[in-house]
């Protein structure tokens, strides 16, 4: 089985700080890592490889420093890694990004047919969750999002459970198909020593927009359909009524009195 995982280099979630004056992100290169949701996608791919045989390819779109997440993917058990790097891709929204990834996946598929594509649920920097379903639309493949469990795998299909607001739904998807997975699906393992060594030696295949035969009028900040026209930090006013008292017990009693007085309870 040939499994392909899409990953993104994003700021480490804990380190995201906003400059209060400019509303801009403060980030330095060392704070980037593999998008935490993609760790589950990669782990699921490596687990399936171990069970079913086959190999795991990883693709990312991003600047040269994004190669770091490809090496990290090798350390976590991936076999081959591909980077889509081209200035023409910069500033792409999810529509353009998913298009470029789909073109890259088509090229990989031409080298060796891909059975299963796995994405993380969303990224921690944009939180859209668009990329998995959108790749499936470009490639005209069946997909399932919010996948929390792989129930069984056969030669021709995969049966998965996806999370809904009221429970979960079991679906069978024939290969090739696209899954977006949530963190409940597994517990990512720690990188092995062997993996770390392999990561250092790994060859990264880098393609530009021409290599993947992408239509450049569909790529990048100038061509993608959506634009960010404004960004700002949310304001929080200090409006709290302080509940007074000499100790916790007094404050608890006072709080109940206040809530009753205002008919909140």
């Amino acid at each position: 089985m040939h499994i392909l995982v899409c990953v993104k280099q994003t700021p480490k979630s804990d380190n995201v700080k906003i400059d209060p004056a400019t509303g801009c992100l403060i980030r330095s290169g060392s704070e980037s890592a593999i998008n935490p949701f993609d760790e589950y996608a990669l782990e699921e791919a490596v687990t399936l490889k171990e069970q079913e045989g086959g190999r795991v390819s990883v693709i990312t779109m991003g600047p040269p420093q994004a190669q770091q997440v490809l090496r990290d993917s090798i350390a976590r058990g991936a076999d081959e890694v591909y980077q889509l790097g081209d200035r023409a891709l910069a500033g792409s929204d999810t529509w353009s990004t998913s298009y470029a990834l789909a073109k890259g996946i088509e090229k990989i598929n031409g080298l060796s047919p891909v059975d299963l594509i796995i994405c993380g649920k969303q990224t921690n920097d944009s939180d859209t969750g668009h990329i998995g379903p959108q790749i499936s639309a470009w490639l005209n493949l069946p997909n399932a999002a919010f996948v929390k469990k792989v129930i069984r795998v056969s030669k021709k299909s995969i049966v998965v459970e996806r999370l809904t607001e009221d429970g979960s739904e079991v679906l069978e998807l024939p290969f090739p198909c696209v899954l977006s997975v949530v963190k409940e699906i597994n517990k990512p393992r720690v990188r092995s020593v062997k993996g770390r060594l392999a990561a250092k030696k790994a060859t990264i295949v880098t393609w530009n927009a021409d290599d993947i035969q992408a239509d450049k009028t569909m790529l990048g900040i100038a061509n993608c359909p959506t634009k960010v026209v404004k960004s700002f930090t949310p304001k929080h006013e200090n409006t709290a009524t302080i509940v007074e008292g000499n100790n916790g017990k007094e404050k608890g009693t006072k709080l109940v009195a206040l809530l009753k007085e205002n008919h909140f309870i």
């Binding site: 999810t94 379903p133 069946p142 679906l171 998807l173 634009k227 509940v243 608890g252 709080l255 109940v256």
Partner: protein, 329 residues
């Protein structure tokens, strides 16, 4: 494509397991305002099996028109089938704006549909406005875990699509007797296909927890300190006729199940009363509960962010404050 050919504001009325999702009413509120400002019609889109009975309700709550595609193939949600039907509908009737609820299903469906249509999509917006001058949809959404708000537009392609976070808008109230048009759209089994198969639905185990419907929520955070702390919270919740919930750290620590998690990576709630115990109020958590009518924060740290945004701030040890509350209730 000529943008001027695209008219009217559409909202997707989600039906899940034979029930109309309340997000439909929220989208009608948001959509009604947009349609009025544009002097265009508000249309609801209803997909499913045996869903026609919901049409009048949607009309009474603000829809001028309801497009219905009713077929046994739409009984269960399959991404391809739904996205292909929506694509056919959009290509046929050319809406100007299209709002979809940012539920699990809606997030995935809107994304796939936008690529089939060939248009831009803003994810998980909490506010939508029509720009006074250009008539474009300005959709504002939290990004970077809610640390930054971004306003996004889609200038060139139509419809401008947007998924709207549940509970960002009030539910539209019915105006009995309100009239509207119903347009039935045929399901095409040769075009609206998928290779994926629905097998079964598994209902959540245990009690019928529906945090989104809870009137009172007593939530615990890192400051609870231990799994057993939730028993005390549950006592308070029970006394107030509510339910317990949590911010992310207790879930990550295994003190409570994920389905109780509130925030950006959990559920969004809008109770009348939200009591946050030992929760610092990180923006990711606030994203899930800022719609509560009244927020009470109980925290040892007077400088915790939630102590500033709450309506009532109690500086103290929750293990002293809550027992005292229980005594005086």
């Amino acid at each position: 494509m000529a943008k001027a050919d695209y008219k009217n504001v559409w909202v997707l009325a989600e039906v899940q397991r034979g029930k109309l999702s309340p997000t439909a009413y929220e989208l009608l509120t948001a959509g009604r305002k947009l349609a009025d400002e544009l002097h265009e019609k508000l249309c609801a889109v209803l997909l499913g099996f045996e869903v026609e009975s919901f049409a009048q309700d949607l009309i009474e709550r603000g829809a001028d028109c309801v497009y219905i595609c009713d077929d046994v193939h739409l009984e269960h949600y399959i991404d391809d089938v739904y996205a292909k039907v929506l694509n056919s509908l959009v290509k046929t009737y050319k809406p100007n704006k299209f709002l979809i609820p940012a539920t699990n299903r809606g997030r995935a469906l809107s994304a796939k549909t936008a690529v089939f249509i060939g248009t831009g999509l803003t994810a998980d917006a909490t506010d939508v406005q029509i720009h006074q001058e250009d008539g474009q949809l300005y959709a504002t959404r939290p990004t970077f875990g809610g640390n930054l708000m971004a306003t996004i537009t889609c200038a060139k392609t139509r419809p401008e699509m947007c998924s709207l976070r549940p509970m960002s808008y009030e539910r539209a109230v019915p105006q009995p007797g309100r009239k509207g048009e119903i347009i039935r759209f045929p399901f095409d089994a040769t075009q609206h296909t998928s290779l994926a198969k629905f097998i079964e639905f598994i209902k959540n185990k245990g009690n019928d927890l529906d945090l989104s419907e809870a009137k009172v929520i007593v939530a615990g955070g890192r400051g609870i300190g231990k799994k057993e702390g939730f028993q005390l919270l549950a006592q308070l919740a029970e006394r107030l006729g509510g339910t317990v919930a949590a911010s992310r750290p207790p879930v990550d620590n295994g003190w409570i199940d994920y389905r109780y998690q509130i925030g950006l990576t959990g559920r969004t709630v809008k109770p009348k009363l939200y009591i946050a115990c030992g929760i610092s109020g990180q923006i990711q958590h606030m994203a899930g509960m800022s719609g509560a009518d009244v927020v009470v924060a109980i925290n040892k740290d007077p400088n915790a962010p939630i102590m500033k945004t709450a309506h009532y701030a109690v500086e103290g040890d929750l293990y002293e404050v809550i027992p005292a509350m229980l005594e005086s209730l």
